[in-house]
Subunit: 145 residues, 2 copies
DNA sequence: CTAAGTGCAAAATGTTTGCATACTT
DNA sequence: AAGTATGCAAACATTTTGCACTTAG
């Protein structure tokens, strides 16, 4: 299950170079495929899936599952997710799909609580908090059934 | 997107009757299909998917997406998820796949915090906290790379 | 030279859909 | 009678896999 990369291949380099340019954005494997196809330098989709999986295992990239059967989203973890010692948490709006990055001490405390009281080591990187963002909540209030 | 049931059909009844017997367990659409097939009273899979979706929209059943391309899990929300006014949160072990139900005030507080400070309305029903459970954490400590 | 990675096309998988039929109200 | 729900099979979309070939160390 833990697949890390051992060789430094051209495809991996190119893929990473691209990902680095879009930190914090979340893109699907299909997006990545298409991007390189358009560049005139396509990478096989199996390679993309396989490298992406490795990058996830290496902690360089995060993977988010929004819904079964929508494609999974990947996100390069740039500096913006590492302010000081803080971890970056992610909230995903169920309505508009927006991904919100959160640096929140309370959340970190909650992680500690989970570990101490419930013996569960939360993985902030893989955990996505679903809910409704401010804008969508407003919109919904206005538009009734 | 919001599909609620208007007629009370036999299939819906049977399905609900079954779900009620396994509150807190999480089962896939495929599991449900097979269950009824074995009972000698199969229900069409489209019906199962469609009814399950309705039950989710009605708030009777929760749906969890663990991983894209693993089947989605459904869970009847019985009393055990409604101790008093508490909500039930779910933690999923990344290693063994175990689903842990948590009744935790701190988590509720965290939801409130999220809403007040960050304007994000967490949906406890759809949010799954990923991490590593106690047993798997122990196991990993012993078995090095 | 060996282990690892690539790419293609094919398979696998979970979910959705079209449509004719049957059931609820 | 009108509006919904059902069930089948076919369609879909994403992800995975088998395999022959290439590349990195």
């Amino acid at each position: 299950m833990n697949q890390r990369s051992k060789y430094k291949t051209k495809q991996r380099e190119i893929l990473l170079d691209y990902l680095v340019t879009v930190p914090g954005e979340h893109i699907t494997a299909g997006d990545v495929c298409e991007y390189f196809r358009r560049q005139g330098a396509p990478i096989g989709q199996s390679t993309i899936y396989r490298q992406l999986e490795k990058l996830v295992d290496e902690g360089v990239v995060n993977k988010y599952v929004i819904d079964s059967h929508s494609p999974a989203c990947f996100e390069y973890i740039g500096e913006e997710c590492h302010h000081g010692h803080e971890v970056c948490f992610h909230c995903k709006c169920e309505r508009c799909g927006k991904l919100i990055h959160l640096h929140c001490e309370e959340l970190e405390e909650f992680g500690v609580h989970l570990c101490k009281e419930h013996n569960f080591r939360m993985d902030p990187v893989r955990t996505v908090i679903y809910g409704v963002c401010a804008e969508c909540a407003d919109a919904k209030d206005k538009e009734p059934e």
